[in-house]
Subunit: 438 residues, 2 copies
């Protein structure tokens, strides 16, 4: 069985590993001149937390695998079951036949319709997407004193923090009314914004950038101009589905349409990772959530099915975290806002308090928010901010996965030891508040 | 409704709070001359992490509550529905009638049958149980250079660490073949022992102490003698059920027998907390597990039912954690050993690895062990050691609570961000290993 995988990001990589383990004859096609890398690590190379971009690269040793690096795929013929590749170095074209095909073409950064943004790319405006563009940003940062970050999602804020650590004056400008607009609610977002500002990073929300001028040095919104040495564009990513679309494969609202087996509309063609439209685990609705952990699972599911196994991707819980200046922000499932858009009548509860026992020294705090369906009391999602937010959201994520009601969740038995916890954790406090509102 | 609560430990305290909220007329009887305190904090006062014993004390403001402090209960008459109290200061006796009674008499430290152990208490041998005895130990430690800790459970090891922090030479001597014999398996216990020894605290297992002589200065086992300035006895605690037993209330193997409503064998008499025999959430079997978190839940359940509500305690998951010299040890559910004793045929899986992404700086590691029923794949318990062990066990605890199979558990969606995690956490690695063995 001859399997071709297009793209060696997290999903393609996971699919290749799984397929090879199951005895596939593999051809992997990757545009880059190296195999794969960890994009989530990019912001941390900027301030040297991770010493070198090389540290992010990985290569895979797989049996029966032909690797076509520095090769782009020009087209897919789903009738003839071939892909047309181009050697980016030599310019040669080649037709590669497949029995099964996995498309894992990932995502590409969104460059919003800001005057000057695209034209100045690599000169005055920069993105953090691959190793090439991020090293350009890093070089620019090394000769700069200030930067405006356009967009307050994870990549924007994580890089804002590392640029700040590097000594730059950083201002974040976000079009929407809050930071992390996809992941958390406005109340939690305000806490994050305040923390960033306390750390010395001003965050301006409700500010749509109209233009970037003077080699990236001036960022103009309706209200005012921000002057800096360069601008970083962090307006999110979108599924890279052009190739699939051209081949006649069905595209959804967010990316390539797949079923839970990761099959596309074309016979023997699978897709996984950031290039697809995923669906929510909570209600099965189409969803966009481009996370490494989901990509990994999807890649394994695709390869398992390609090789005659029987696996299903259960949908995405959007379990997400980011560390910003020593504090963690994390979320999973639906936000209050998203739940409302999906028509849920929700009750929410927040618990806030200390991380260690009341009588144990330490000032660290954490806040948790739970979102619960009023109808059947099921947990729809949760958010947390502060020290230990990361793992508290993992606990909530598992509860959502297990379809727990908040009544059941409130009987969870957490460990307790004074240096690490209180005897009634903020998770339980948040349950108490929700239960009073049901 | 006139409710009498005997004992203001965690369970009695929680019961009093819940009952007062529900409008009870309360009489609380407590032997101490102050209301309540947090025993889990005691080891941390020894090295000054918590500045003062006073910091551990709490008092409660409750409506319609009569507090009889410095009062012991001499007897309970379950026919006449009265308790006989004695004012420990004045010596007066009083008979207090009740409509409902909650017994929350807690636990008492076990003094093992070691020659000299009991006789030298407060002079050469010390326990960490209340504020009085722990302050005696602290005073002794302040004029000492070395100590032998007899018993390698949580209190023993936590106090061993704080005595070590204080500059004492500490040796731990444990009768059984491992540390934390009730909470973890021998393989995990070996990691903890090695960590303690790397930190400068020798741990001798399989060493039954025969006698303590010379004012606590010499601890003698079959093999050898240990010389130190004093000995600390940390051989665990047992349910304090003498009062209930004398009143004719049924006692189980481990403590006062209760049903899930926390009702004892006597009409209108409830019991909760460390004085009862609890039962395992996993298989419903009688169990002993004296944890603050369970005591809190039990107290609430008892008071809810006393006040005409309808609550059930679902059984104990034994979710436990301890921090020792910067590393966390945690466990929940059954150990491999306990599961075998209960007749389960189990598969286990261990995952070990880094806490942060492979490419992110940091050397911290964590190890997780999962115990799974081979028959139905359900999780029976888990253990973890290292940084982040605490919350990983909380995740496992919730999975056990939700009756998840390891197949379901392995599809959990954890958050991922390089400074805080890897994209495939040790929890998932442990699942991978178990699944291969099923």
């Amino acid at each position: 069985m001859n399997l071709v995988i297009i793209g060696l990001g997290t999903a393609g990589y996971a699919a290749a590993m799984e397929a090879a383990k199951r005895g596939a004859h593999l051809t992997v096609i990757e545009k880059r001149d190296f195999e794969t890398f960890s994009p989530c690590g990019l912001p941390y190379v900027v301030d040297g937390s991770i010493p070198s971009f090389e540290d992010l690269k990985h290569s895979i040793r797989l049996r029966n695998t032909e690797k076509l690096l520095s090769h782009s795929v020009e087209s897919i013929d789903i009738q003839k079951k071939t892909v047309r590749t181009r050697d980016c170095k030599k310019g040669d074209y080649k037709t590669v036949p497949y029995d099964k095909l996995i498309i894992a073409t990932g995502a590409i950064p969104v460059i919003p319709p800001i005057k000057g943004a695209r034209e100045l790319l690599g000169k005055g405006t920069f993105v953090v997407s691959g190793i090439g563009d991020t090293s350009e940003l890093k070089k620019k940062a090394e000769v700069s004193k200030s930067c405006v970050v356009i967009g307050a999602g994870a990549i924007g804020l994580e890089t804002a923090c590392t640029l700040h650590n590097k000594g730059l004056q950083v201002t974040v400008v976000e079009m929407l009314p809050q930071v992390f607009p996809q992941a958390i609610d406005e109340d939690m977002a305000l806490d994050v914004k305040n923390h960033l500002e306390d750390s010395g990073i001003p965050v301006v929300v409700n500010a749509r950038v109209e233009s970037v001028t003077q080699d990236g040095g001036v960022v103009v919104t309706a209200d005012r101009e921000y002057t800096a040495d360069f601008a970083m564009i962090a307006a999110g990513v979108r599924a890279n589905f052009a190739l699939a679309e051209k081949a006649g494969i069905t595209i959804g609202k967010w990316g390539i349409k797949v079923n839970p087996k990761m099959e596309t509309s074309a016979q023997d063609v699978y897709a996984c990772g950031d290039c697809i439209e995923t669906y929510s685990y909570v209600n099965g609705e189409p969803w966009m959530m481009q996370l490494a952990t989901s990509a990994l699972q999807m890649g394994q599911v695709a390869a398992t099915n390609v090789m005659g196994g029987n696996a299903s991707y259960q949908g995405c819980l959007n379990t997400f975290a980011s560390e910003l200046g020593g504090k963690e922000i994390a979320s999973c499932g639906f936000t209050e806002n998203q739940a409302a858009r999906f028509g849920y009548d929700v009750a929410v509860g927040e618990g806030a308090g200390r991380v260690t026992a009341d009588y144990y020294p330490g000032e660290e705090t954490v806040k948790v928010k739970l979102i619960v369906d009023k109808k059947d009391h099921r947990l729809l999602g949760g958010q947390a901010f502060g020290v230990g937010a990361f793992w508290r959201v993992n606990v909530i994520s598992l509860a959502v996965k297990a379809h727990m009601t908040v009544d059941e969740f409130s009987t969870m038995e957490l460990a307790y030891t004074p240096p690490l916890s209180t005897s009634h954790d903020v998770l339980l406090k948040a349950c108490d508040f929700v239960l009073r509102r049901l």
